[in-house]
């Protein structure tokens, strides 16, 4: 069941993004930025956590969860440091993702050659 839910949610977010891409002049860059901001926005009301508990990986994979993770990490640190914590905790939860993306992109770029 969890597999079906993951499939449906991730697919749904992609579907909405595809419709926006086809019908407007927005580029994938614009759309992903919009999704990230939306993910952060949902976290104001703790909604994204609920989505993750229902849809599992289906809610973790879209770039919206990046916005959620940034927000979540920021807020977690506020319990210790108050308002300063927002900046301090920002990359806590996304550290692994960003680090691995940079690392792997770098290694692949060194090894491979662009094709047509």
């Amino acid at each position: 069941m969890e597999y079906l839910l993951a499939f449906v949610f991730c697919g749904f977010v992609c579907l909405v993004a595809q419709i926006i891409y086809d019908r407007t002049k927005l580029t994938p860059g614009h759309i992903t930025c919009g999704l990230v901001v939306f993910g952060a926005f949902l976290d104001i009301f703790d909604l994204y956590d609920k989505l993750i508990s229902i849809f599992h990986a289906g809610a973790l994979l879209p770039i919206t969860s990046f916005g959620h993770s940034l927000m979540h990490g920021a807020l977690e640190k506020t319990s210790e440091y108050g308002l300063l914590g927002v900046a301090m905790g920002m990359f806590d939860l996304t550290a692994a993702g960003i680090t691995s993306a940079i690392l792997f992109a770098f290694i692949v770029a060194l090894i491979c050659k662009p094709k047509s």
Partner: protein
């Protein structure tokens, strides 16, 4: 002779139509494209990525003895690795041609953006090429994410405690 031309001496004085008239004509002649197929493919490819992610989560839970929450991180890292490798092999863009949003919405899109930009600039060297250009396409997501999370984080903390 239509309203856009008039005979002046022996020369046809051609007055190019204005922007609105041209746009109307061009729109009328535009081939109709079906967006339905694109939407279905985006849903299917995106869904498969979601499904595959969940399978990975289960595997990591069993093999590494993690809770579901903890298994999320290695799953994301694995998806990023796969996307980077597929980009380097020249396969990712072939899939993305059909999948559209199905590949650029999940974290795979972000990984592809970094890798393709870095790979592209290889001819300019490691520092000025690969390293400097890596965030050309993916940087926007980080910028917007951080700024949005900061602003909303402050709003949430101040108003909701």
């Amino acid at each position: 002779m239509n309203k856009f031309t008039r005979l002046v001496k022996n020369r046809i004085e051609v007055k190019l139509m204005n922007e609105n008239q041209y746009n109307k004509l061009a729109e009328d002649l535009k081939p109709k494209v079906s967006y339905f197929k694109n939407a279905v493919l985006a849903f299917l490819f995106g869904g498969c990525i979601g499904l595959f992610g969940q399978i990975l989560v289960r595997i990591y839970m069993n093999v590494l003895h993690l809770t579901e929450k903890e298994a999320g991180t290695p799953m994301i890292v694995t998806m990023i690795l796969i996307a980077c490798v597929l980009t380097g092999l020249g396969i990712f863009d072939k899939i993305a041609k059909y999948a559209g949003a199905g590949t650029f919405v999940p974290i795979t899109g972000f990984a592809n953006a970094l890798t393709s930009a870095a790979l592209e600039s290889k001819s300019e060297g490691i520092v000025l090429g690969v390293a400097s250009n890596m965030f050309k396409l993916g940087g926007a997501v980080i910028t917007f994410g951080v700024v949005a999370a900061y602003v909303m984080g402050v709003i949430r903390y101040v108003f909701f405690g």
